[in-house]
Each structure stands twice: as structure tokens, then as C-alpha cells.
Amino acid sequence: MVNNEMIARIEQIEKEALEVLSAAQDNQSIENIRIECLGKKGSLTKILKSLKELSPDEKKIVGKHVNIAKSKLETLLKEKKTAFDTQTGNIKDFIDYTLPGKRVELGRRHPIMQTIEEICQIFKEIGFQVVDGREIETERYNFTILNIPLDHPARDAFDTFYTEDGALLRSQTSTAQGRIMEKISPPLAVISYGKVYRPDTVDATHSFMFHQMEGFLVDTNVTFSDLKGVLHLFAKKFFGKDTNIRFRPHFFPFTEPSVEVDITCFACHGSGCPVCSRSGWIEILGAGSIDPAVFEQVGYESGKYKGFAFGLGIERICMLRSNIHDIRYFYENNISFLKQF
């Protein structure tokens, strides 16, 4: 019978094709099988074309067989081809993924500004509000309100630039205390940062312009121990969770008690290294409880409020953290320097 013969023929073609296919070593042999069986003049194609000469019943049976064989072969061919492609790779599809990506080039923030932003963010999380401050100031805000009398040795630490009109360039961001407290009643939890100026000769660790950040908190019920808690929280968030702090007594005219605050060295974790001059501690800021004289100056009701304040030098912290040995790099703004941050 024709159709049995044809079915046998189909099975034969399929069997042979599979044998050749399993022995195939490259894409070319696969392609040859495809042409032989499925090409325009391929063996299965021929059978398909001859179907029209068969009776409807035969057409149905043979057609089914030939289609199954065809689709089986196609699948196997494809699988085999994919296997070869994966093995050998295909030149057209090859991507050198080590090529530099096509980028929209980004700029960078200045390291000083990055440091400021990072510290601000931490104090904002704690609940402080950021407020802007002036740079050109009067004696009153830079000295008088801060309990620094004229002709007092306490002023030695605050040598100051004066303008032709008798104003001055603030020598510390603590000016924010007077500016804000004079206008606004507590509760206050404020951070203010910016440029400050002192007539220092520029060298590796000094500059006549640098950046400070001032923080202060005033409320009816604030203690020195709260200052310790807030600063330790900050130190842990900024320098790492294992950071410890210690308070060393100091003197600032506008705080009492006044302290200098050290943190455990982030380079050696307290065992002593060149970064901390082998002491295990690094001084990072000055702080204290706000002196009642300041509250008196701004006109707060006597004895009603207590508070604390702290001030930190941004350059110093940034230099310590990023191992920068010369403060002048910050203001030279050499692109090769800026690109490192």
C-alpha cells in the first residue's frame, strides 16, 4: 500500500536524519541535514508536496506522520544548533562586556560639601533643623552675645577680619546662636554651617577661610548628659557603630561646662597609630552646656531654659577621614583632586 510505504519512507528519513544529526560536529552538517530533509527539494518536503496526489483519507494519515516528523526534526535541529552556538560562540552575537559603558558623565560634589551634607543628614534624622547663617557679622553676634568680652584673652582664639565699615567676618558659626535665639523662643534644635574666617597664614593645616558646623539645642529640661548622648549618637552614625567618645574639660566663653570631644581613632580603633598620634583618640569637636550669660544676652527669661551647643571643623573631619594631608587641596579645586571623591 502506498501509504504504508510512504509512512515507512518517512520513518526511514527520520531515522537516518537523526543518526546523521547525532554524529554532526558543526553547524554546516546541521544545515546540510536541514536542506536534505526540509529544504525546498528536501526529502520530507517532497513527500509533503506529493500529498495532493493521495486520497483524502491517505492524505490525512500520511500528512500527520510527515508533520510530526518535520516538527520533531526541526526541534532537534534547533536544539543542536543552539548547543553548537553556545559552545563555539557566534561572532555576530559577541559583546565585549569589558568595553567601557556609554555613560552620561556625572559630576561630583566637593568633599567639604559631601561631609557637610552627611553630617547634616545625621542631625536631621536626630531631629535638628538646618538654618542658614550670615558670614559678615557684627561684634554683637560674633562676640558679645557669646560672652566674649572686648579686651579679654578669650578673644585670642578668635582673631578676626574687619571690613571697612566696621563689620567683621564671623570667626565661628556660633553666631547662629544669637541670630536665632534672639528672634525665636525655645524649643530649638538647630544646625547651621558655613564659611568662617580667621587671619591665619595659609599652610598645610591652616587657612584664613574654612568651614564649621554649629549645633545647639535649647529647651526647659536639657542636661549635660543629653549632650553626651547626642554626640555619641552622632559619632556612631558618622564614624561607625563601635565608636566611643570621651569628654575632656576645656574652656569656651559661651558654654559651661565646656569640653573638647575625642572619638576613638577610626584608623586603629583605639590601639594607637600615626593618625591619632598614638593616643588612640582623635579630637573632633568642641561642645558644652550653653552658658547662662548667653541666655541673658538674647533676653531669655533667667533660669527658664537650659541647652547645649557644639561646633565642629569640617575640613579637619574630612582630612582625617579621607587621609588628606594638606588643607590647601580643598580650595585649589584641582579636578584631579575633586574626581577622587
Partner: protein, 685 residues
């Protein structure tokens, strides 16, 4: 102040090592530095950094008191008991004319002094603190100064005229030569020690060359006094003349030590040299003072410090520090302060002392009971600043932080606001005495420095203040300004050739900022300082001037040694902040199809694209939801003096589908109006 271990141990007997003592002092607020062993002196020397509130620490006795308090051991006081007969001296007088500047002045005459070289023991002590030995009289005044903190001065009595001392103000313009051989022109504000004819010392600061004690001196007048601290400081600072003596007087010496210092001197002189006889004290003014008593309640400690310290401990600490607890009933204290602690005046001063000695390390860490937000504080500009900086960084610009003090010579004459410049009277450097009136001079310094370093392609920005005088009465204005600069070309890439920056690259960054702050900027032709006339543009927001941009004047570039073209802009952050729209309102996206059509026309080369675009929108019946310039070129395929511009437009309505005829009608309208207004023509290829 330099401190010798040997010398210090004379006053406090304690077995601890000097390193341990140094650490304790540092942790008590008397910071010790540079501790080292000096082989020549066979002594350990260290420096202490003494804060200006603690004049009592400016002496060995003061430091010894602190050590004694920290280790709870007694102080060993030096001997003041010279057992010398004193003759009464009626022919010598002391008169204070300015009692507010000199409350007390005491003199002692010592006759027949053998002014010899000091013995090694004394010389070593002086060397240890960094002083040069001179002779036994001068050296012993220095020894007493370091030992007790009281400066004294010895005059050669025979060189003083008229057997009298007058303490009075200098004559304005008076000349005076001090021991350091410098001549000073004095002011009325300067307090002087005078004999009957002339000034012999700048009070508390330095003696005169003429009456100096030398090897030939036989008789001396030993001065010990208390001078007004701010007067001494004023003189010392004005004349830039500082001495161990002025340093102590301006910090306030111990009035109770003024006479005692003379006794100590006599005791030492008797020990190390010889003399014939010593007078009784001749003095003017008073060295008695009212007792300082401070009262406080024990509960002020927890309220202020946040820790409870019991009454017994508090009493013990106060007494260790040399204070006298006069009354200590239950919870209240009444404490008498000794004359050597002028810094203790208020209860808070005592609370600090108690806590300091108790140990800051024992204070617990707590958090404030509340951290309240104060509605009166606002920081609107801060948010805008962050957005502008974000746009700049995303546009590839590097933030710079240059000096705000600039060299006026380089650009001042090109400014139209020279009369508003803010200058420093005491600059650190003569070239840095102007507070920048604009960010451009600062930025130019940065650009010039980078070009010199071979960094030829720059995209930089800064947000900082520009300073201008407003009126004599008010403080100068500080205008927060954003400055952006472009120099050179884009970096060479494997996928892209470098292209020179143009003003439109800068404009693109400004537009990014505009998008970030949610308000559209306008650009106009205008004349601004520092720009080339042909390339100077204003930037506006909501009709208000908010900045300018352009190409910098080549005259200006020459002054900074810059030869390449520089594109720069300045934006006023406050004005932008006022117009910024940070809270966005959602607009419904049309559910109906959007029809896209392009239009390309040929217009005169100087036709402004913005004008054409505005005309298109005007004549589109409100159907255009998006329009963008997609082409703009001139060249050989076009008639001379013409350019081709093309826009892509999107039409839609959000209530229905637009019909083809409708769009065609609008499209034709647009073209007709462009043709009418700009003589625009369709491009025929």
C-alpha cells in the same frame, strides 16, 4: 607654658610617674603636650596649654594645686619666711593716679645687693621653662613669676629720679624704649610707671632700658602690683608687645599673692645672694578684697548635669580645690572662693568644677526628653540649593569651593558696582582683601589654576555668596549665587569624538536646573558685567531677572592668564527659590489617540526658534500637547541667509479622538501664520 618635672615635684609629693600625672592633667582640662626627657637638664619637660579662664594655672603652684586635688594629696608651699629685719622708708613714695587701672602697687627697697650670676640650680630652672638667665635679681623675679604666677619688676633704684613712683597714663605720642631695645610711641590709654621725671616702665608689660638692673646695680626697687587686665591687654595688643608678665596680668593675677611674692623674693635672695638691708613695703591702693561667696543647691547638679552627686562628695571636691565650704545644710551649699580662682563667680562655675573633678566619664549618656520642631525656623533655600546642585552634578559638573576673598586689581574696574565693594581692613595677604562681589572672580581663579595644571576641559559649579554693600548702617548683602562654568571640550571617548563646548551646552545645564526647580527660565539679550558685549544674555523666571550667562570678556581672561573661551553663568538662588514649584500637580493623560506630525520650514537665519515655536503653539487651537525642535541647519542645500527648522508636534484632546480633517486644518493654520509672520516656506527638496 613649659613645665619641669623636677621643679613641679617641689610643690607636690606624689609617687605617680610623670606620664600618669600628665594624663590626669589632660583629662582635667590642663592639656599636656610634647612631654620629653631633657638629657642636659636631667629633667622631664612638658608643655601645658592653659585656657584663658585659668590664670592660676600659669604657675607651678597652680599646677601643683591641680595635681594635689586630682590625687587628694597636700600641696607643699614654698617658704615665704625670710626673717629679715625691715627698715622704715619714709623718703620714698608711691602714688597711683589711675586707681581703676592699678588698684594696688607695692614697692620694696633692697640696698647693697650683690648682683651676680645665678647659681646653676636657678639657671637650670629658667632654662627648663625656656628663659635665658641674666643675673640673680632678674632671674629671681622670673623664678617667682613661674613659681607663684605673680610678675614683679626690679628697677635700679639709683637710676630712678626723685625717690618716687607715680602710676599714671602715658602722654599721647610719648616715646619709650623698653628692655627689648624697641622704641614705642605711647597713647593716653597706656598705663605707665614713672619716676619724678619720666616713664620707667610700661605698667605690667615691660620695664625701661634706662632703669634696668645690671651687674653694676647696688640698690633695687622691687615692684609687685595688680594691674587692670583689660588695660594691660589693650596696651600689649596695640603695641604688639607681649611678655610673661603681660600674659599673666591680662589674665588677672591673684591679688592675695602681690605682697607674698615680694616676701618669697627676699627669701630666695637671702638664700642665693647677699644684701645690706630691706625696707618695709611702700604702697598705694588696697590689696584687700571682698570675699567671694557662692551659694547653690545640690539639686542643681542633676538638673544641669544630669547626674546625682552626694553632698559629702561635693564637699570633698570643693575642699580639694581649695574652696571653703562655709555652710552645708542638707541640700544647700555656701562656698567661699580663694583669691587665686577669679574664674569662679556663679553657681554654674562651681557645677562645672564639681563635675570636672568628679569625672566627665562618670556622666551618663542620655537623650533629650524631646527634640521639638520649631515652626518659626524654615529652610526653603536649602531644598532649592540641593536641587540645583543635583542638576549640576547630573549634568557632569564638579563642585568647587574657592576662596571668597579675591584680588580686586584683576577685575574691579570691569564691575559696575565698584562703589558697593566690601573690603577687609586687615587682610592676611594684600591681594586678598575684597569679598567677592560676584562668584566669577573666584571661579576664574579655579579655572586658571586648573588650566595651568593641564586640566583643559572643565565643567565646574559653585553655590556660594556674593557680597555687596547696601547702606552704611546695614550689614552688606550676601547673595546666594550659583555659578557654572564650561571650558574646553567633551572628553574623548571610544564611541564619540570630542566636541567643543558652546554656550548652548551651558544653556542645557541651566535648563536642567530649571526643570529640577519646576519653573521655566526665559533667556534674553542683555548687557552684564564681565561678559563679551556680543555674547551676554539675561536669564529670567516669571518675568524676574534671576541670572545671566555668556562668554567672558577676553580683557578679563587676559588678567587671569587664560587664553581659551569661557562660558559662564550666574543664577540668583533666592529669586529662583521664590518662583520654584516643587509640589507638582498631576495632569490627566489623554485616553484618546495622540497624532504625531512634523513640520519643517525655511526661515531667515536670524529668526529665533523660540518665536517660531510660540507662534505654532498660539495657532494650534490648544491641541498641541508636546512640541520639540528636531532639526535646525543652514548650508549649501539652502538658499543663502536661510535656515531650515523642523518641529515634531503631538496633537490630542482628552475628551475625544481628533479627526484627520481637524488636524489638517490646524496644521494649515500653523503654516499660514508662520508664513505670514516669518515668511516661512515649506522646504522643497
Amino acid at each position: 607654658m613649659k613645665v619641669s618635672e623636677r621643679w613641679l615635684r617641689n610643690y607636690v609629693s606624689i609617687k605617680k610617674s610623670i606620664e600618669e600625672i600628665a594624663q590626669s592633667l589632660t583629662m582635667a582640662g590642663l592639656e599636656v603636650k610634647n612631654l620629653h626627657y631633657d638629657k642636659e637638664l636631667d629633667d622631664t619637660i612638658f608643655e601645658v596649654e592653659i585656657t584663658s579662664n585659668r590664670p592660676d594655672w600659669l604657675s607651678y603652684l597652680g599646677i601643683a594645686r591641680e595635681v594635689a586635688a586630682l590625687y587628694d594629696v597636700p600641696v607643699t608651699y614654698p617658704s615665704f619666711d625670710h626673717q629679715v629685719e625691715r627698715f622704715s622708708c619714709n623718703d620714698f613714695s608711691i602714688t597711683i593716679k589711675e586707681s581703676s587701672l592699678c588698684p594696688f602697687y607695692a614697692g620694696v627697697i633692697i640696698e647693697g645687693v650683690e648682683v651676680k650670676e645665678s647659681p646653676k640650680e636657678i639657671q637650670d630652672k629658667l632654662c627648663a621653662v625656656g628663659l635665658r638667665p641674666i643675673n640673680i635679681v632678674v632671674d629671681l623675679t622670673n623664678i617667682v613669676l613661674f613659681e607663684l604666677g605673680q610678675p614683679m619688676h626690679a628697677f635700679d633704684l639709683d637710676l630712678l629720679k626723685g625717690r618716687k613712683i607715680i602710676v599714671k597714663s602715658a602722654k599721647q605720642g610719648e616715646k619709650f624704649t623698653a628692655i627689648n631695645h624697641e622704641e614705642y610711641t605711647l597713647r593716653k590709654d597706656d598705663l605707665m610707671i614713672c619716676d619724678n621725671e619720666k616713664s620707667v616702665a610700661i605698667a605690667g608689660v615691660m620695664g625701661g632700658l634706662e632703669s634696668e638692673v645690671t651687674a653694676t646695680t647696688k640698690n633695687i626697687l622691687l615692684e609687685s602690683a595688680f594691674f587692670n587686665p583689660s588695660s594691660i591687654r589693650n596696651t600689649s595688643r596695640y603695641h604688639i608687645i607681649s611678655s610673661d608678665s603681660s600674659y599673666r596680668f591680662e589674665r588677672k593675677v591673684d591679688l592675695g599673692m602681690v605682697r607674698a611674692a615680694q616676701d618669697r623674693f627676699i627669701t630666695l635672695l637671702k638664700q642665693y645672694s647677699t644684701f645690706a638691708r630691706v625696707s618695709q613695703v611702700v604702697c598705694d591702693g588696697a590689696d584687700s578684697m571682698s570675699e567671694m561667696v557662692i551659694a547653690f543647691n545640690l539639686d542643681e547638679i542633676p538638673q544641669t548635669i544630669g547626674i546625682e552627686i552626694d553632698s559629702g562628695t561635693v564637699k570633698n571636691i570643693l575642699e580639694k580645690l581649695g574652696l571653703t565650704v562655709k555652710d552645708n545644710s542638707a541640700d544647700s551649699f555656701k562656698v567661699s572662693v580663694p583669691s587665686f580662682r577669679p574664674d569662679l563667680e556663679r553657681p554654674i562655675d562651681l557645677l562645672e568644677e564639681i563635675t570636672r573633678i568628679y569625672g566627665y566619664d562618670k556622666v551618663p549618656e542620655t537623650l533629650p526628653p524631646r527634640i521639638a520642631q520649631n515652626d518659626a525656623l524654615e529652610d526653603k533655600v536649602g531644598g532649592i540649593e540641593r536641587r540645583i546642585k543635583g542638576a549640576c552634578v547630573a549634568s557632569g559638573c564638579f563642585e568647587v569651593v574657592p576662596f571668597t576673598l579675591v584680588n580686586e586689581e584683576k577685575f574691579g574696574d570691569l564691575s559696575s558696582v565698584q562703589n558697593k565693594f566690601v573690603r577687609i581692613v586687615n587682610p592676611q595677604h594684600k591681594d586678598l582683601r575684597l569679598l567677592r562681589p560676584s562668584l566669577i572672580p573666584s571661579m576664574l581663579e579655579v579655572v586658571a589654576a586648573n588650566l595651568n595644571q593641564g586640566n583643559l576641559n572643565l565643567k565646574l559649579f559653585e553655590i556660594g555668596s556674593a557680597y555687596l554693600r547696601t547702606s552704611k548702617k546695614d550689614l552688606p548683602s550676601e547673595t546666594k549665587t550659583c555659578c557654572i562654568v564650561l571650558v574646553g571640550e567633551t572628553e574623548r571617548k571610544w564611541y564619540q569624538h570630542p566636541s567643543k563646548y558652546t554656550l548652548l551646552d551651558l544653556k542645557g545645564i541651566v535648563e536642567n536646573i530649571s526643570e529640577q526647580v519646576g519653573c521655566e527660565f526665559g533667556f534674553t539679550k542683555g548687557q552684564f558685567d564681565y561678559y563679551e558685549v556680543r555674547c551676554s544674555y539675561g536669564i529670567t523666571v516669571k518675568g524676574k531677572q534671576c541670572g545671566h550667562m555668556g562668554t567672558l570678556d577676553s580683557k578679563l581672561l587676559n588678567r587671569y592668564g587664560v587664553e581659551t573661551e569661557i562660558f559662564i553663568c550666574e543664577l540668583d538662588v533666592a529669586t529662583i527659590s521664590e518662583c520654584a514649584l516643587l509640589e507638582k500637580t498631576h495632569k490627566e493623560i489623554s485616553k484618546f489617540p495622540v497624532v504625531k506630525r512634523d513640520i519643517a520650514v525655511i526661515v531667515e537665519h536670524d529668526t529665533l526658534v523660540q518665536d517660531v515655536q510660540n507662534t505654532i503653539i498660539e495657532h494650534a487651537d490648544g491641541l498641541i500637547t508636546h512640541i520639540a525642535l528636531i532639526d535646525s541647519f543652514a548650508g549649501k542645500h539652502l538658499p543663502k541667509g536661510k535656515k531650515n527648522i523642523a518641529f515634531s508636534m503631538e496633537f490630542s484632546r482628552n475628551d475625544r479622538t481628533l479627526s484627520g480633517e481637524e488636524i489638517q486644518r490646524v496644521y494649515d493654520d500653523i503654516f499660514t501664520s508662520l508664513n505670514k509672520k516669518f515668511k516661512a516656506e515649506y522646504r522643497t527638496v
